[in-house]
Amino acid sequence: MTWVRATLFACVVLPAAAAAQNLATASEPGSRGGRLVCAQRAEPKTLNPVLASDIASREVIHRMMGDLVHINRGTHATEPALATHWTISPDGRRFTLRLRRGVRFSDGHPFDADDVLFTFEVYLDPQLHSPQRDLLMVAGKPLSVRKQDSHTVVFETAAPYAPAERLFDSIAMLPRHLLEKPYREGRLAKVWNLNTPPAEIAGLGPFRLKEYAAGQHVVLERNPYYWKVDRAGTRLPYLDALLFVFVSGEDAQIMRFEAGETDVIGRVGARNFAALEKGQGGRGYALRDLGPSLEYNFLAFNLNDLAGRNLPRVEARQAWFREERFRQAVSAAVDREAIVKLVYGGHGTALWGHVTPGNRNWVHPGLATPPRSLDRARGLLKSAGYSWDGQGTLVDPGGSKVEFTIAASSSSAERGQIAAVVQEDLRQVGMRVRVVPLEFRALLDRLFQSRDFDAVLLGLGGGDADPAAEMNVWLSGGGTHLWDLGRTRPATPWEAEIDSLMNRQLITMRVAERKRLYARVQELVGAYLPVVPLASPHVLVGAKTGLGNFRPAVLDHYTLWNVEELYWRGRAAAGSR
C-alpha cells in the first residue's frame, strides 16, 4: 500500500499495507556471502542517530537502524517497515500504527511499542536539539505519541498533515534497553560515539557495527536478527559485511572505483562520469544515468527588503530585479541546453520550473518550456523601458547601465560553470555580469546575514520528493525563502497565492487535489520567476557488474537504500571478497 492510496481514502479507517512480510518483491533472490566496499568522503562524526546531521554519519547509521514506515526510493511511495500497517482517522490527524511482531534488535533484544515511545520522547526532547525534531513538528507543535498495546502506537498531529506517513521515514527506532539509562541521566548525547564498543550499539537495520578504524574505515557486519526475508524465505541481508572506506574528494573516489578498490560509487559528477565511461567495458563496472535528480539549480535575484541595511548599491539594482519582465528576459536569454551540454556533458536536464522531471509524482507535465530567444528577451526589456547604448550595453529607464554580480559557491565547480554560461548569455542582451566565486560559508553569510548580493546561483531540492519538503522554500516567511527572507506577509498578490496554495496542499488529504494545487504553484513560479530555474544534474552512479539487485534511485541514499537486497552474483564473486 502506498502513501497515495492511504491518503486517497483518508475519510475511512483503512488498513494500509499488504501484510508485507516480504517487501523485496521487485528483487531477485540472491545468495549469501561477500562484502561490499563503498567510499565515503568523510568519516562519520557520530553513530548516534538522534544527533547525526552530517551525510557521512547518516550513511552509516541508516544501514544499522530501522524505521516504522519507509519511503521506497524506487517508487517514491511509503511502504511498511517496522509498522506492518496503519490507519488514519477521518480528520487526518490520528495515525494508528501496528508494529511488526517478533522483531529483535541486533543484540537479540525484542522490539515493541515501548521502544517506539522512548524513541519519540528522545527525538522530541528540545534539550537534545535533534536535527529531526523540526520534521516531527506539525503546525508548530510536536507529534504526540501514546501506546495502545504492546504492538500498537497512536500518533496525533496538531493539524491535518497530508504527508504524515513520510515523517516516520529515517526516524531510527532506538533500543530502550540500552539508551534509557543514559538518557535519564542526561548522557545520551555522549553515547554511541565512534569509540563505543560495537556490543553496546544495537539497531533494527540490516547491519550492525563490527569495527571502526580512525581515518581508515568502518566495517558493518550482517545483523542476524534482521526481520526482512526474500521471496524464497531467506533472511536478509545477503552480504556478510559492508565496508565504508574514507576517501576525501570526488576525484580520489573516482580513481579508487576505477582501480577496482571500491564496489559502488554514487553521485558522480557529470564530467567524471564521462571519464569513467571510457573504462566501463573492460574494468568490470557498469555506470548508470538515472536521469534528473530532485536538485534544481537556479539563479535568484536579491528581492529582500533592505531598508536599514545600508546597501544603497544593491537597493538601486533591486529596481531591475523586482521588475517581472526583467527576470523573464533573463530567463529567456539563458541557454539552458548549453548548460546541459557544457556543464553536465549531456547528463543534465534543462528546467523551467523548480520541480524536476526526476520527481515524477509531482512535476507539472504541462509547464511551459519556451526555447531560448534573445529577441523575446530584448522585447521584454524594451517593453519595460530599457534601451541599449552605442556599445550595446543595456541601460535602464533611469539611464544607468545594467551591471550586477552573480555569486556562486567556489566549492561547486559545476555552479561556477553554470554562472559562466549565464554570464555570456546575458552579455548577449547587453547585461554586464561579473561572476564572483565565494567560499560557501561566506556565501551563506551574505544570503542569510548581510543580504549583500545582487544575484546568486544556488541549488536546492536534495531531500524528499513530497512538496511538504519545499514549504520552507516557497512560503513568504519560510526560512529557506532565500531571495527574500524574513517577510511577515507576502510582497505581491502572486506570492500570496503561492503561500495559500502551499498551505492548502499541506492539509489536503486527496492526492489529486494536492497535485492540482502544487501544479498551480509551479505555474506561478514559472510565470513570475522569483527564481530562474536553470538545470538539474542527473544522478550518476556506478557499481561492479557482479552486484545483484543494484537498483539505485534519484532520492537520497541513492545507491545503498536497498543494501539488504544487494548480493554478489556467482560463488566466485562472493568468495573472492
Binding site: R271, A275, K341, L342, Q417, A420, V435, E439
Partner: protein, 312 residues
C-alpha cells in the same frame, strides 16, 4: 651600457633576453596572433582538440593576415563556420591559444607590476635604512623581519577575501599586483641595505663627504649605483615568483574573474580529474610558464655573473 656589454659577452644573457622578449612580445601581440577573442564561446566545440573543428565537408585552408568579423587584423584564421584551435578549446569552446596569450598579459603584468612595486619600496626602504642608520634603520628592519616572517600566501588570501565583491578585472589585476608587491618589499630592502651599509664606508664616499657633498648627492652619485646589480637580480627573481603568486590566486578563484583569462584560472580546470585524464591540451598554460620562469631565472643568473665580472 654595462648590461649591453655584458650581454655581448654572455650568451646566457642573450638567450634569456631573447626568450623573454619572444614571450612578452607574443603576449603583447595577443590580439593579432590569436584568431579569436579569449572570451568568445563556441558552444558547438567544447574541449575540441588542437586542429580545425567543424570543418565539414572541408577542406578548410588556413588564411593568413585576415580581418575578423569586427574588422580587427588577425595573423591567421579559417573560414567560418569552421574554427581553428591551435591549442584546442576549453569547456566553453573558447580558444586556448587566445586565452593563453591574453592570460599571459594578466599573469605577466601582475608579476611585473608587483615586482616593480616591491623593488621600488624595498630600494627606498633599504637605501634609507642603510644610509641613515640609527632608529630609522632599526624600525625599518624590524618591520622587514615581520614581513619576511609572514606566510605571505595566506596573507594574500586573507586580504583578497576582504576586498569588495564587485571588482572589475582591471582593478582586480591592480589590486593583486599591489597586494603581492606590498607584501614582498622586505627581502629587496634588506639586500639593498646591506650593499648601502658597505658602500657608504668606502673611501671615495668618505672623500666625497669630506669635500662637503650633500647626502642626496652621495646617495645618488656614489651609493645607489652600487645597488643596481642587486636590484636587477632581485627583479629577475621576483617577477617569476610573483607571476606564480598571481597564478596561485587565480587558480584558487581569488584572482581575476571569468571570463577574463589568466594562466591561473586556466589551470584551475586541471583541478578536475576528468580534465586531467581526458584533455591533455588543458595542461598547456602550465607548460607555457616553464620558458617564462627559465628565462627570468637565467636572466638573474646572467646578471649575477655580469655583476661579478664588471665589479658591480
Amino acid at each position: 651600457m654595462w648590461l649591453i656589454r655584458a650581454s655581448v659577452r654572455r650568451r646566457g644573457l642573450v638567450a634569456a633576453l631573447a626568450l623573454l622578449g619572444a614571450v612578452h612580445g607574443a603576449v603583447l601581440l595577443a590580439g593579432f596572433l590569436a584568431p579569436y577573442d579569449p572570451a568568445e564561446q563556441d558552444r558547438r566545440h567544447p574541449y575540441a582538440p588542437p586542429g580545425v573543428a567543424g570543418c565539414e565537408p572541408g577542406p578548410c585552408p588556413v588564411r593568413w593576415f585576415v580581418r575578423d568579423a569586427a574588422g580587427r587584423p588577425r595573423l591567421f584564421a579559417v573560414d567560418a563556420p569552421a574554427r581553428i584551435f591551435v591549442l584546442g578549446s576549453d569547456q566553453y569552446g573558447r580558444d586556448q591559444l587566445a586565452r593563453l596569450l591574453h592570460g599571459g598579459r594578466v599573469s605577466l603584468a601582475a608579476g611585473l607590476l608587483a615586482a616593480a612595486l616591491s623593488l621600488g619600496l624595498g630600494w627606498i626602504a633599504g637605501a634609507v635604512a642603510g644610509y641613515r642608520g640609527g632608529w630609522l634603520d632599526a624600525v625599518l628592519m624590524r618591520a622587514s623581519e615581520f614581513f619576511v616572517a609572514l606566510p605571505w600566501l595566506y596573507l594574500l588570501f586573507a586580504v583578497r577575501a576582504f576586498l569588495p565583491l564587485e571588482v572589475p578585472p582591471e582593478t582586480a589585476l591592480l589590486l593583486i599586483a599591489a597586494i603581492i608587491g606590498l607584501a614582498g618589499w622586505a627581502r629587496p630592502a634588506r639586500l639593498v641595505r646591506g650593499v648601502v651599509l658597505s658602500a657608504k664606508e668606502r673611501g671615495y664616499v668618505l672623500a666625497a663627504r669630506g669635500f662637503g657633498a650633500s647626502h642626496f648627492h652621495i646617495l645618488r652619485r656614489h651609493v645607489l649605483p652600487q645597488t643596481v646589480g642587486v636590484a636587477l637580480t632581485q627583479a629577475a627573481l621576483l617577477v617569476p615568483q610573483y607571476v606564480l603568486a598571481e597564478v596561485t590566486l587565480s587558480f584558487l578563484g581569488l584572482g581575476v574573474g571569468e571570463p577574463v583569462a589568466s594562466w591561473g584560472n586556466m589551470l584551475a580546470a586541471l583541478a578536475q580529474y576528468h580534465v586531467l585524464v581526458s584533455y591533455w591540451w588543458m595542461v598547456l598554460p602550465g607548460v607555457a610558464m616553464v620558458p617564462v620562469f627559465l628565462g627570468y631565472l637565467s636572466l638573474a643568473g646572467a646578471v649575477i655573473e655580469s655583476r661579478d665580472s664588471i665589479g658591480l
